[in-house]
Every structure is written in C-alpha cells, then in structure tokens.
Amino acid sequence: SQQGEEDPQALSIQEGENATMNCSYKTSINNLQWYRQNSGRGLVHLILIRSNEREKHSGRLRVTLDTSKKSSSLLITASRAADTASYFCATVINFGNEKLTFGTGTRLTIIP
C-alpha cells in the first residue's frame, strides 16, 4: 500500500452541499497537508495540520487528523462551482525525510 490514499476517487455533488474527502496513510507523520489542483494546472496549498493537532479550519475548509487511525478528512462546506478540482493529501514524515508524499487524489465535481 502507498502512503496517502484518498477516498473516494471521485465525488460529484450539487452546489451548496458539503463535500468530504478522506485520506489514509501508513507511516507516522510530522504533518499532513491538503492541496488543490485545477485541471492541468499547479498545486495550490490549502491547509497544513500537524501531528499534535486534531482539527483545523480555514474559511469553508475543515480538516481533521486522527493519528491513531492514520487518517485525515477534508470538509468543504457550502460548495461552489469553483471548488471543482482534484484534491490531494500529502504527508511529511520528519526531519531528514521532509519531502511531500502525495496521495492519489479525489476528483471533486460541483454541479451547478
């Protein structure tokens, strides 16, 4: 299995609904980050949560981290058409191993 696997792989919801994406990972981590990627474009950083944190908010985004289950979730509330994108979780293990290891991503489609 790979470090960082998102579920579901694809999600379609109506505009205004909430979207929840999950990420699981295998090894202990220092932090977990969520990125958004619009089709064929660069990665936009959304939020970083550290291993000693359980929940973090940023605007319409809410991220939770459960280190005992090695999982994280990203909730987007009151979705908009502009939220249509792929969402990736990425983990950093620790000092000396500081690269981002990305998951497979969730393709989110917001239906107007």
Binding site: R41, F95, E98, K99
Partner: protein, 115 residues
C-alpha cells in the same frame, strides 16, 4: 502575493535531447524542490535542495538528472538525455523553512513532452 514561477510552460523535445527547466522560487525561501506528475498519476518527489546542495533525492532522480542554483534567484532541473517516460508535468516548489516546519509553495508547472 509572492509566487513561484516556472518557464517554459510547455517544452517539446526529441528523445535523447537535453532539457533545462527553470524556476524562480519565492525570494526569501531557502528550500527548493522538484516534483513531477505523469499524466493521470500522483505527484512524485524528485529532489530537494538546500544551502547549495541536494538534501534528499528519490530513486527517480538518477544520473540523468541534475539541479543547480546558478544565481540568487533561479533554480534549474536538467535532464541530460530525455526518454519517452520523462514526459510529465514538472513542478518546482519552495519553502521558507524545512518541509517539517513550513509549507511548500508550488509553481504552475512545466509540461514536458518527449517525442
């Protein structure tokens, strides 16, 4: 807001040719990275660079690859002899501190097509 920039946005080359992908990291950042994403696949780490030397590299980053910070602003990735399987989107990223403490900010990417 400062951004990471990359040039060119799209590069087409023949197999066996050398390519240089260029990046201008955010100006006060000290840590630099290259990642790539083959079409339809996940983003993969290639190399990290700090204090003018490679700090970490992946198995993908073999002898065909090299990185350089030729001046105070640019950060380059060179592929000496391109292969078909090098076709991918290449992303540069930078961070103020280590990946443990600070966010990595990504550029828009260079799409490399090897024919």
């Amino acid at each position: 807001e400062p951004e990471v920039t990359q040039t060119p946005s799209h590069q087409v080359t023949q197999m066996g040719q050398e390519v240089i992908l260029r990046c201008v990291p955010i100006s006060n950042h000290l840590y630099f990275y290259w990642y790539r994403q083959i079409l339809g696949q996940k983003v993969e780490f290639l190399v990290s660079f700090y204090n003018n030397e490679i700090s970490e590299k992946s198995e993908i980053f073999d002898d065909q690859f090299s990185v350089e910070r030729p001046d105070g602003s640019n950060f380059t990735l060179k592929i000496r002899s391109t292969k078909l399987e090098d076709s991918a989107m290449y992303f540069c990223a930078s961070s103020a501190g280590t990946g443990v403490t600070d966010t990595q900010y990504f550029g828009p990417g260079t799409r490399l097509t090897v024919l």
